[in-house]
């Protein structure tokens, strides 16, 4: 039940003092709580930091290794994308003629080379094709890897494979 308040003293100064003391105690209490909380947070963050440092020593090499792998893959992709694909295709188209049929194109950007397989109507046609390829700025040295005669639909032809250097920065 509620207290019965029938005080005739009119002790305003005392009440003010009580309120003041209560407020002061409250502020002190809040200060102590804040200091304790701050200390707890500091201690926790220090603990986390040391744990993180301890774990970091073990984790970092693996992370670095993994990152390096990813970096290599990314570099590879970037390098592949940086290759002058447009110039390569234009050069191959330019070197083409009716006596040579290009069947397989295997670019290898990592090695900076491109392998070509196809058929030529004659050895002279193949030799001219090689000459035209070597004349392209985007291609460096062009090597004939293999050639063998073949017959197709009653016609004599030469099957060939060759490798050409694929320049990263074609000379102007």
């Amino acid at each position: 039940m509620k207290r019965l308040e029938l005080d005739f003293s009119d002790d305003r100064a005392g009440r003010r003092r009580s309120v003041g003391i209560t407020a002061l105690l409250l502020v002190c209490g809040l200060f102590v709580v804040a200091v304790q909380w701050h200390r707890a947070v500091d201690s926790r963050s220090a603990g986390l930091q040391s744990a993180s440092e301890a774990a970091g020593q073990a984790v970092l090499p693996a992370a670095a290794e993994s990152g390096q792998r990813e970096l290599l893959v990314a570099n590879e992709a970037a390098r592949a994308l940086n290759r002058p694909w447009g110039e390569l295709l234009a050069a191959l188209e330019q070197a083409q003629d009716s006596r040579v049929q290009l069947l397989v194109l295997q670019p290898n950007p990592r090695k900076g080379e491109v392998q070509l397989s196809g058929e030529a109507a004659s050895f002279a046609a193949l030799a001219e094709y090689l000459s035209r390829l070597r004349a392209q700025a985007v291609l460096g040295e062009v090597v004939l890897n293999s050639q063998r005669p073949m017959e197709e639909d009653g016609r004599q032809a030469l099957a060939f494979t060759l490798t050409a250097e694929w320049a990263e920065h074609p000379a102007p």
């Binding site: 029938l6 003293s9 002790d11």
Partner: protein, 252 residues
């Protein structure tokens, strides 16, 4: 300099004398019939120098205070308005003499009855003058009902009657559902207090609309309390405790 955490000295003033409690020790400062409060305060002033009091809590016995229950007034909110209602209710009960009284009102909650209590202005002025002269700080001047009730309120059920019995004075306070319902006073002749108390209880029990209390709590000497209780209150719990003599009041 007074210590902030020390308890004030409690001085209880009753027609039977003056008692003081300080530092856990109680003693009677004056014993004997005082015809009015002026005699009492003169005696207190004479001995005040030797009391070593810095802060004082004064408890006044029932003969020096008057009570009234103010009916609920949901539209009245301001404390000043309640104060005016209390003064008006006491004037209606006691007449023009109430114009010289100081009134305090204890609100019990919105929509609940309030308790008004009055004290002679001259008595209050004299107490404050004495305190000023003695350099006492008065922390509280309270009626005995406030001291008794606040001490025991946690042990009381929500519906209970409190009987404060002193020599030639009886006060019956009725609580219903935690709200003050009614105060009844009686001023029996010396030696007739038990019979008068029984009659007071009988009248209260037969009053229309009276709530049957869960407990009758009697405060006072055994010789002042009723020997028999109304038949209708046979099922009511009974509790007896000291609390109206100067020494008992000082220990509250």
């Amino acid at each position: 300099m007074s210590r902030l955490w020390s308890s004030p000295a409690t001085l209880a003033l009753a027609p039977e004398g003056i008692a003081m409690s300080q530092g856990g020790k109680s003693r009677l400062l004056m014993q004997g019939e005082a015809s009015d409060w002026k005699t009492l305060l003169d005696a207190l002033r004479d001995m005040a120098q030797g009391l070593a009091i810095r802060r004082a809590r004064i408890i006044l016995s029932a003969p020096y205070v008057r009570y009234a229950v103010l009916p609920p007034q949901p539209a009245v909110v301001a404390a000043r308005d309640w104060q005016a209602l209390g003064a008006h209710a006491l004037r209606q009960l006691y007449g023009a003499v109430a114009d010289d009284w100081v009134v305090r009102v204890s609100l019990q909650g919105h929509g609940a009855p309030a308790v008004a209590c009055a004290l002679e202005r001259a008595l209050l002025d004299e107490l404050q003058r004495l305190a000023g002269d003695m350099r006492w700080r008065l922390t509280s001047i309270e009626p005995d009902l406030m001291a008794v009730f606040n001490r025991h309120r946690r042990q009381l059920p929500a519906t209970a009657w409190l009987l404060l019995a002193g020599p030639q004075r009886l006060l019956l306070a009725e609580l219903a559902a935690g709200r003050w319902e009614r105060f009844s006073l009686a001023h029996p002749l010396a030696g007739e207090e038990p019979a008068s108390a029984a009659a007071l209880l009988e009248r209260a029990a037969r009053r229309d609309g009276a709530h049957s209390p869960g407990l009758l709590a009697c405060f006072g000497d055994e010789t002042l309390l009723p020997v028999t209780y109304p038949a209708g209150m046979s099922h009511v719990g009974l509790q007896r405790a000291p609390g109206t003599s100067p020494l008992q009041l000082a220990e509250l």
